[in-house]
Every structure is written in C-alpha cells, then in structure tokens.
Symmetry: C2
C-alpha cells in the first residue's frame, strides 16, 4: 500500500466512509471471517460495490482478483489511514446527563479513543466522580488539555454554551470537536468539527415509513 | 415536482444525504437567505455540486438556470420527501443518563419529532419525571406504543439489553429504530435501523490530525 497522508486531495466524503468500512470489517472479524469482497461490504452497507472499490483505490491496492480483500489486512490499513492504530485521549465538556453517558460509553476504547478528563462550570457537579474521573472546573480546561496532550474533545453542554466552549477548546489547542449540541459552531480553519445529529438519522428512516397518524 | 414516493429505487446513500441538505437549508433560512446554488451547498457541506444536483434530480427539477434553488421551496419539498412535514411521536427506551438527555434534547421538535414516552425496567427509575414525562415500566411498552401510534423509537439502554429491547419494539409495531448502544442489532426486513456512532465521526476527524503523543 502507498500511504498518501493528508496532503493528497481525497474528497472528504470518501474519508467519511472509511469509518463505516472499518465498522463493517470489525463485525466481519468478530464473525471470524478471513476474506470479503466489495460486493459483500456493499450489500451490508447499502453502498454500491463500485463506490467501495473507488473509495479504497484512493489509498492503494487492497484487493486481489478472485480472493477479494483480506479482512485483517484491510482493517489494519484503514486504522492506519485514519490514525486510529493508537489511542487518542479525549476531553468531555459538560457533566450533565449526556456528558455522564459519554464518560461511561463503552464504544470508544475498542476503536481508538479514551475519555481522560471531564469539565463543567456548575459548582454542584465539580468534584463529582464519573467512571473514575473527577469533574473539573472550566478554569482547569487549558492546563489539563495541555498536560494530557488532548487534540480531540466532545461538547455536551446546553446549546447556548456550545460556541463559547468550542472557542475555549480551540484556544487550549484542541483540533477536533465532536459537538452534541443542536447548534452549528464556528471554528478557525484547520479545526475539525463534526456533529452528532440524531434527527438526520431519524429523517433518513422516516423516508421509508408511511405515517399512521 | 414529481413525487416519487418510496417505490422508486433511489439509492439509500442518496436518501441519507437529504437530511444533511435539509440541515444546510435550515441554516440558510435562519440567515434569511432566499436563493442558493448546488455550488454554495457543496462548499458548505464538503460535497461536490455535481453530486448534489444528481441527488436532487432523483426527485424532480428544483433549480433554475441562473437563479439556482429557491431555499424555502426546496426546504419544503425535502421535508415532504422525508415525511417530516409533520410530527412523529417517539418512544425512548432507557431512562439512564443517555435516555434522560434524549428526553431533554431540544433538537427534535423543530425538525419533525417529539418524544412522547420513556421506558425503563429499573424499579428505581419507574415513575420518575423527566421533562414532564413519567418513566414507565417495560410492561407498558406495547400498549403505549399502540396508544400513541408510535412508529419510531430510540434505544438508550446498555449494550447487553439492546437486542432484546429492539425485538420488543418491533413486536410492538415500531418500524424505525435509532440505536445508541454500541452494538449491531438484528431486526426483520422492512424495519429501519440507524446507529448513533460517535466513533465514526471521531475517526473521520483524526484522519486530518497528526498525533502529538
């Protein structure tokens, strides 16, 4: 495989599909499978096999005519491409219901991420223990992010506070933000932002439904 | 516009982008804009303008040469296509941290969804009030889903319980499930399932980062 790095101009929409492929490969590994094909992946994911082959071709030659993709190899290569062949320390801002759920979430560690600190501005929450972490005041945010070399953070605060928190995170050196608040946030160029948008998933599904009421 | 309904074989990946377009149009409306172009939408979303034009062409002719898309019109058409020109009642299963956060989430109502009931199997939680809703026992699930004509539900239980909950929801008549538990669930053909997968978003962003540690 030829490693392209970040400099090659691969469409962001293609990058966005790599985690989906990785998730499907995780499942195949759990099923103790050794080989798969763009066809099988496509059927499982509702994406055309041509699209999958085209997406992967941006990063090198992974499949062989006849045998298809070696699952373990493709899995490892995509982990490297996405830089998740390591563990990223993360900060959570907001220790309300959602922040607590994120600190407890068991899906992060197996896939390259670990929450290492959690912040809130509510004196009633500061000092509280969540899954072994102590909720820290916002005044500690910059120093903790530096100390843990944190580049990735999740925002779990009320929507009115999300922009201010994002600004503080960026000032502290955070380069990638996953925002759970239902509001668009502005960040400088070069800082990544993604949104957890349950409504987009719900609307995707209601396309296929016939309303009963 | 020619309304195609669900019968036309439009790729699911195209359907999945419509909520993203709708979200961008919401923002443009908030900015009091009247017209936009596939170019502008593409730049905001990191999707090629050709892709956007092709996606929308599955559903009819929305744009005009020269003036582009009328934002309010396109917004209304996509709402109709996705069946969110109405309000869908929803059930939440799981009244822990995440379930509580979902009941409180302010992003649903403005975009076509409303949580109308919440269930848990923990006697300590049953009867609790969350944002005006009373947590009900799982034994009430089927009757409440029927009474409210609920077709859409969200799973916010620990991963070990997610499959059993999904099965109960489908038996009760639910046709679309948004699963927050980090586990794949099996449902019969014809039932929609989507996943909230924060790790996919995180991995998308770490592609662009250079690890510091």
């Amino acid at each position: 495989m030829i490693r392209m790095g970040n400099s090659k101009n691969i469409p962001d929409i293609v990058i966005g599909r790599l985690p989906i492929y990785l998730r499907a490969l995780n499942l195949l590994i759990a099923e103790q499978r050794e080989y798969t094909s763009s066809h099988e992946l496509g059927e499982r994911l509702g994406i055309s096999s041509a699209q999958i082959r085209k997406d992967l071709s941006h990063f090198g030659e992974f499949g062989k005519q006849g045998t298809g993709y070696n699952i373990a190899y493709l899995h490892e290569q995509i982990r490297q491409i996405l830089h998740v062949d390591r563990e990223w320390p993360m900060a959570v801002v907001g220790a309300g219901d959602l922040g607590r759920a994120l600190v407890h979430y068991r899906g992060f560690v197996p896939r390259g991420f670990r929450v290492v600190c959690v912040f809130d501005n509510d004196p009633a929450r500061i000092g509280e223990q969540i899954a072994g972490l102590t909720v820290q005041p916002m005044s500690e945010l910059a120093s903790q992010i530096a100390a843990h070399r944190i580049q990735v953070a999740m925002i779990a605060v009320p929507l009115e506070a999300a922009q201010e928190v994002a600004t503080q995170l960026v000032e502290a050196g955070v380069e990638a933000i996953l925002n759970y608040a239902p509001i668009t946030i502005s960040v400088p160029d070069g800082v990544q932002v993604q949104y957890i948008d349950p409504v987009a998933h719900l609307q995707h599904m209601t396309y296929y439904l016939t309303p009963k009421s």
